[in-house]
Amino acid sequence: MEKMDDNSSNGSPEKEVVEVESVTIRFAGDSGDGMQLTGDRFTSASALAGNDLRTFPDFPAEIRAPIGTLAGVSAFQINFSSEDIHTPGDALDALVAMNPAAFKANIGDLKRGGILIVNTDNFTEKNFQKAEIDSNPLDDEKLRGNYQVFEVNVTDLTRRALEDMDLQSNLADRCKNFFALGLMYWMYTRPMEPTKEWIKQKFGNRSEIVEANTRAMEAGYHFGENTEAMASHYIVPEATYPAGTYRSISGNVAVAYGFIAAARKLGLTLFWGAYPITPASDVLHELSRYKNFGVRTFQAEDEIAAVSSAIGASYAGALGVTCSSGPGIALKGEAIGLAVMTEIPLVVLNVQRAGPSTGMPTKTEQSDLLMSMYGRNGESPVPILAASTPSDCYDVAIEASRIAVKYMTPVMLLSDGYLANGSEPWLIPAEADIPEMKAVFREDPEGFMPYDRDPETLSRPWTIPGTPGLQHRIGGIEKQDGSGNISYEPENHDHMVRLRAEKVAGIAKDIPPVEVMGEDSGKVLVVGWGGTFGAIAAAVEALQARGASVSQVHLRYLNPFPANFEEVMRKFDKVLVPELNLGQLVKVIRSEYVIDAISYSKVQGKPFMVSEHITKIEELL
């Protein structure tokens, strides 16, 4: 393929349109290049085009790493399809690389024969150095053999498109992502209108920016249309969806909505005690916008104050929630133990990231399960739930709130960086669909005892300050069952330790059994939890389609396990547990059931690929 410039592209736009089922593309550039925004817009356009889709934003830990370096590469991946899909895709059909660093960091994920679009204006000696590349990779003939390479002078073309606007060149250059977006819209036959609307709304008060971005996008689109180099483009038909109204949702927004919905349903004020930390901060940001729902967000001085204030809030009759990520959760253990002892409702949301220690803050991982189980002194059992997709974050937030309030217990809720920032289309549920639940405050002084128990749930009464006649005192010292008075009596302690465990274990009766996706017996059962759902499901479905004897169970409840879990596992020859850690769930399964479950572990700060699961499962079949 020849080097192109825009003069060469006067041909008529009579181009072949190829229909395809699924496409995975990735925009990659410097942190300052606006790749996340570009990806978001492409996602929105694809949603409106009726595709099923999943996204995977991936950005650096630095606010603005040095321009042009590998550390500064920011990428956004989207998989869109006319069929049901579960993941943002494994290998890429198309890669847009805005500079050499983005090229270098991402080229390995492009399929053979895939489309590579590079912004040649950035392929300069200086940038090769920054990207630690010896020579211009575009000069490498092998590249052209492996991929469909389109060299586009994006910066220059964008500048030209805006030439007559008299903008600072710096501003013109900042529109080049819209050029790339326009080009991809043409490539995948998406309408530009909704994005134009969005640009207007977003930059409404700065008309020159509206115009510049719009023009840049159109220039990109028309470039695709006109350049001879691009002979064909693609269309991904609408997916068949259950009827209804949809939106795109990320895990962090979904979880925020879930807590608002739960608090409404319960008739409680939502109190959110949090200290900022990546990747959990966005939940705080989202919720701080909903004071109109009575939400009180409290940006605490640290994570310990955050959890303590949330416990105080619940004690006073609110739905107290605290949210953080790994290192911040580690700090909360002591206070969570107090909530266990005083039996106060609390949800602790952990948006997990790669550890240990500071680790890789913007990268995903599932390595806090065992800390959730055991990261407190003494015997301090808590229910643990995990979300499996971005939209599932909404449902688990509601369910965690239900359990916390019904059982007067802290609940650990696990999300992760992948779910938090990834998005998918969501058939918007109705408020009326929220499961039944209620918060009851004890008000009757007759026979009141703070540690009196509901015989069914083993829960104690929630009795909030301000209630006349029910003054009482609680605390973290062991207490007599019933009266709640301090007690150092040996038998009472034994009784209470077992009772607290029993209360949590008893939740198994109140949660749905695990559902087997596929045959309910066979060779391999793949057991997963959390954000690995999509990739496992895609792999299992693919193998099932080929007739393999493999089924899937995905756990929402990690403590207690659903009542039928053991029985389900015993019907398979092998149990495989893929996790983005060194094998944490598998440890619990093995110890609980003495089943020789097999761990499949990946700890790279990024999600599994579907193909990895397929390979692993095939090994066991």
Binding site: Y290, A300, E301, A313, Y315, P468, Q471
Partner: protein, 340 residues
């Protein structure tokens, strides 16, 4: 704040006894905590709130067990974090009268950060710091208020940590009500506690408290007859800074940011004012005893600014008036599309 005492709508006048819980008090015989408990139990009936509106929040320590002994709502939490628990409680229900009971270790060692953050936010809670200059509950190590050279189990040849001075620190953290009183002076304590309770925003009271077992006599100069008359400087709004026994009255002269002890009839004795928003004067007062002068007790500083929870309520109310929303509205916000 309601001014009439009501329980279930029935007006009734409460007494000290009404605030005593059924729990056996488990402090050492002779501990200063007893008098503070009595003092608080005597003041609350004067405040006109029913019992159920009070919440006492303790951290961990001898002092922090205080909530068990009050017939109010009580929460004995974990070490050092009581101000954070109290913040959550107050934010959720600003109508409650929330009291934090803490010791010098609980408040200033492990809990120092929560203390200063509660203060700077001006959250509407009352913080009583029982300062006995020692860790009582863990059996007698030196604390952040122990003086240099204090010999304890953990400092057998004398501590080398310079102490924190709670009042100086509170000024640095911009607390809006700062006072000091003494376990042994019930009348003074009552007055200070009442003022503290009526203050909107954070009120902070350091109470000099005797730990009879591990640090007996730490404050004897300021509590024992014959000594206290010479060594206590009562701070009274609009009154000159004078102290001392009848036959040896002295006064504080302040000049160029230094205080000096002079005869009480010298000219230019400083006159006390509580409304010292800048805090430099109050800060100087907090150094008088450190420099070997008398121990000022009373209100160091008292000024108003809107408390945290009130500003939060305002924001919530404004938002609710401005934009009513259902959960359905919320879920449908942003871009949506239809599939048929």
């Amino acid at each position: 704040m309601a001014t009439e005492t009501k329980t279930n709508g029935v007006g009734l006048k409460l007494s000290r006894k009404d605030f005593q819980s059924d729990q056996t008090v488990r402090w050492c015989p002779g501990c200063g905590d007893y008098s503070i408990l009595a003092g608080v139990q005597k003041v609350l009936p004067e405040l006109g709130l029913p019992r159920e509106k009070y919440v006492f929040v303790g951290g961990i320590g001898c002092a922090a067990r205080f909530p068990y002994y009050m017939n109010t709502y009580g929460f004995h939490t974990i070490h050092g974090r009581a101000p954070a628990f109290a913040t959550g409680i107050k934010v959720v229900n600003p109508e409650l009268s929330v009291w934090v009971i803490t010791g010098d270790g609980d408040a200033l060692s492990i809990g120092g950060n929560h203390l200063i953050h509660a203060m700077r936010r001006n959250i509407g809670i009352n913080i009583l710091l029982f300062n006995n200059r020692v860790y009582g509950l863990t059996k007698g190590q030196y604390s952040p208020t122990s003086q240099v050279g204090t010999k304890t189990k953990s400092s057998p040849v004398g501590s080398i940590d310079y102490p924190l001075h709670p009042i100086s620190l509170a000024i640095g953290a911009e607390c809006t009500f700062i006072a000091r009183t003494v376990d042994r002076d019930q009348k003074h304590m009552a007055k200070i506690l009442e003022m503290a309770a009526r203050h909107e925003g954070t009120s902070f009271v350091e109470i000099l408290q005797n730990c009879i077992v591990f640090n007996d006599g730490a404050w004897h100069q300021y509590t024992e007859k014959g000594l206290k008359e010479q060594n206590v400087l009562y701070l009274e709004e609009g009154q000159p800074l004078v102290y001392g026994s009848e036959d040896d009255r002295r006064g504080i002269l302040i000049n160029d940011f230094k205080s000096e002890i002079v005869s009480a009839d010298s000219p230019g004795i400083a006159v006390h004012r509580e409304d010292d928003e800048d805090g430099a004067y109050a800060h100087l007062l907090s150094r008088i005893e450190v420099n070997g002068g008398p121990m000022p007790i009373g209100i160091f500083r008292n000024f108003q600014r809107p408390p945290y929870e009130a500003m939060l309520e305002d924001q919530v109310t404004a938002a609710q008036l401005q934009k009513k929303m259902s959960v359905d509205d919320l879920l449908h916000s942003g871009d949506t599309w239809e599939h048929k």
